[in-house]
Amino acid sequence: MNCIICGVNTNEGSNYCENHLSAYINLKEAYNEWKKAMDITWQEYLKKVIENENTGEWVRELAIHLLNENLE
């Protein structure tokens, strides 16, 4: 399979390549901390992450994809 974000070969059964998969894990983990810090929905969270200049490139690409596709 190819990564749905960058097209690079992925490990079997994964939609994401190694880099975007690690970004996905970080993004999901960080959401728990964002929720503890403030009232925020998943969609709002993704928007804030996309806008933030400190966000890593792979995370931003992934967040844009998740937001556009309305995915968790």
């Binding site: 970080n26 964002w34 403030m38």
Partner: protein, 693 residues
């Protein structure tokens, strides 16, 4: 007598000659000198760094290759053509010599240079007739001292360690690099200079690890309280006792409870701290300071320091020592420095001290003292870069003999409705060593008003500030150098060069280091198919073994055999996986080329992207819009035909068109607006050297 460089030959000849001036000769463009010392005729002949290099024994551009030989550098490397005449002249002159003296720099490389010259240019028998001269500066005093205490034989431990290092590095570098180049060639038919090596691989792996952390970083929110107090009509920023508040509601609660309230001083604490002078300069610290204050890359600093050493202005720069031995004549150096107006007062002040005791660092290098001024004064005005490094070395030298500086810190606690804030100030009470090193210290003084405990404090404003955590910082040449030093990979002489290679191979880019797709690809491939090559342990083990040669605990043969045994299975694995490796590299190169040729969005159609294209008719290159092929946009502009062109990432301040940077070999890079034919910026449209005019 063989010296490492022509400048050193002249200095040594001048210092040792007892009658008149040395007799100068020139042959094939090489200058050498005849001198007389203790009634003996000595001919001082220079090398020009390494005149011999490791090369492959036998033919064939393949791998694995473990058989090596030493050949003249001009044969191994076309860029070393200038070494041919040196070898020719030394070889001819050696026939008349009765004995030989190795007067190259006293380190592994220097010993190795002289050994090769003696063995291959002067003949094997010269090795048993050779003595070693040791010195740490090129001042007359040190040269004469070195000559008067010649070692009866060559420094064999250093030579063996040097030969081993060169051979192992060559074996690792050539085999691993060829494995990558040949994999790529087999898959795509394309040739590209790719490389990795014993130290290069682990260094690149560290940079890649950081890059991955940065690219997969998710910022987390936190809040800070910005409170400003109004005291005697002046505003002071108060620090909330909790620097980061991780829950927004808690931060809002603080604001609500402090808003429109008056605080009171609850405690005043003053503390005096003693700041010891800095430790003496070893090469790593000099490179680090020069990067911090002048933005000089480590290799540039080393180059400049070597020039200053050859001019006898500073001691040998590749020193790893932070401890001054008692043999350094500090008084004489200070006395001499007092003749330079800039340092005169400071040097005199130190000379008036009863006792001069330097601070000592942890690092030790028995062969050389820390980098310090020799006491020789510049004969002519120094070039700006050289002046900066000289100044840094001199001031650091003065500072290590200075008194501790004393700083007073003041911490005022202010309580506002049960919430604790701090007001911090500090000032220098005694400058001590800092007055000598002041241009290279970043320290600020904050003077606070006189306050008493219980005094009321009025708030001017208080607000909540949204903040986010940031990714770990990118490496820069200085931090990579420090990382290599901390990880004990590479040597003080080679680290800067390895960083340069990572840039020149296109694996990393920018002063704040970014990994390129090619760099990532090399790392991904190596970590997938032969992670050992990236292992810092393997490199460290080999470093350790090579150091053991210097102390006579291991032999050259043992270490080389061990290194080859470690490398053989790695190469076998690479050979088996050539196809996938080649595929990965080929994809990365294609992506790199695409990225490099893209300049930006087309300013005319605002849709297509501007890329570097080539005319089918003339093969000349130009920048054109990608929509040209669909006939939607015909924008194109001519560009220089020579040099590498890349985007600067910025737009022209006059017309808004993208700017490009042109890099030509041995020339300063310059920036250009791609709309240079019509840009209203006129003369300013071209900005040489990347600096705005």
């Amino acid at each position: 007598m063989i010296t490492e460089k022509p400048t050193a030959a002249k200095r040594i000849a001048d210092a040792l000659n007892e009658k008149g001036t040395p007799v100068k000769h020139e042959e094939h463009g090489i200058t050498y000198y005849d001198i007389v010392r203790n009634g003996e005729r000595i001919r001082v002949v220079p090398a020009i760094g390494h005149l011999y290099s490791v090369a492959q024994e036998g033919k064939g551009w393949t791998y694995p290759i473990f058989q090596t030989k030493w050949v003249p550098s001009y044969i191994a490397n076309k860029q070393s053509r200038n070494t041919e005449n040196f070898i020719r002249v030394i070889s001819k002159l050696s026939r008349e010599a009765k004995n030989f003296i190795s007067a190259t720099d006293f380190d592994i490389e220097g010993s190795q240079i002289a050994y090769c010259v003696l063995k291959y240019a002067c003949g094997e028998s010269s090795l048993t007739r050779a003595q070693r001269m040791k010195f740490s500066t090129l001042t007359n005093r040190d040269i004469i001292k070195g000559f008067n205490s010649l070692s009866p034989t060559l420094d064999w431990e250093l030579i063996e360690a040097g030969r081993t290092r060169h051979e192992i590095d060559w074996i690792y570098g050539i085999n691993l690099s060829r494995a990558m180049i040949l994999s790529l060639k087999k898959v795509s038919g394309m040739y590209k200079a790719l490389s990795t090596g014993r130290v290069q691989g682990p260094t690149l792996a560290f940079i890649a690890e950081r890059e991955k952390k940065i690219r997969s970083f998710v910022p987390k929110p936190f809040w800070t309280i910005n409170a400003v107090a109004l005291i005697d009509g002046k505003k002071y920023l108060l620090e909330y006792s909790q620097k980061k508040i991780w829950i927004k509601k808690e931060a809002e609660k603080v604001i609500n409870e402090c808003n429109n309230r008056v605080g009171a001083v609850s405690q005043i604490q003053t503390r005096k701290t003693l700041q010891k002078p800095p430790v003496p300069l070893d090469i790593g610290t000099l490179q680090s300071e020069a990067y911090t204050y002048f933005r000089f890359t480590p290799s540039r600093t080393l180059r400049i320091a070597e020039q200053l050493y050859l001019d006898a202005l500073i001691s040998y720069p590749r020193s790893g020592s932070q401890k001054f031995p008692p043999s350094i004549d500090v008084h004489a150096i200070l006395k001499s420095l007092s003749n330079i107006e800039e340092y005169s007062q400071m040097a005199r002040e130190l000379l008036s001290k009863e006792k001069l005791v330097p601070t000592q660092g942890k690092k030790e290098d028995l062969a050389h003292p820390p980098i310090h001024p020799t006491g020789n004064l510049p004969e002519k005005k120094l070039k700006e870069d050289n002046r900066k490094i000289f100044d840094l070395v001199v001031r650091r030298f003065l500072a290590v003999f200075g008194d501790p500086s004393i700083r007073e810190s003041l911490k005022i606690e202010i309580t506002i409705n049960g919430h604790l804030f701090h007001l911090r100030g500090s000032r220098i009470l005694e400058q001590g060593w800092q007055k000598y090193y002041s241009p290279y210290i970043r320290s600020e003084e904050t003077i606070l008003p006189q306050l008493k405990e219980g005094q009321k404090i009025e708030l001017d404003s208080i607000e909540l500030v949204d903040k986010y955590t940031t990714a770990p910082p990118r490496y820069n040449p200085k931090s990579v150098l420090m990382l290599m030093e901390n990880q004990h990979i590479g040597t003080k002489a080679t680290r800067a060069e390895i960083i340069d290679t990572l840039y020149s191979r296109g694996y990393i880019t920018g002063e704040r280091i970014f990994m390129t797709p090619l760099g990532f690809s090399v790392i991904n491939i190596l970590s997938k198919y032969c992670p050992k090559v990236l292992s810092v342990e393997l490199t460290r083990e080999l470093e350790q073994e090579m150091e053991e040669i210097e102390t006579n605990r291991r032999t050259r043969q043992e270490v080389i055999i061990d290194a080859v045994e470690k490398l053989t299975p790695i190469l076998k694995e690479l050979k088996l996986k050539e196809k996938v490796i080649g595929q990965g590299l080929s994809e990365a190169l294609a992506s790199l080329r695409r990225e490099k040729s893209t300049i930006g969005i087309c300013p005319i159609c605002k849709e297509g992207s501007l890329t570097i294209m080539h005319s089918k008719k003339t093969r000349k290159r130009f920048i054109g819009c990608s929509n040209y092929w669909t006939k939607k946009c015909s924008f194109s502009v001519p560009i220089p035909q020579e040099g590498d062109i890349e985007t600067t990432g910025e737009n022209c301040q006059y017309c808004g068109f993208p700017m490009v940077r042109i890099r030509r070999s041995r020339k300063k890079p310059w920036n250009m607006c791609i709309n240079w034919q019509n840009c209203p910026g006129g003369k300013n449209k071209i900005q040489r050297g990347g600096e705005t005019q």
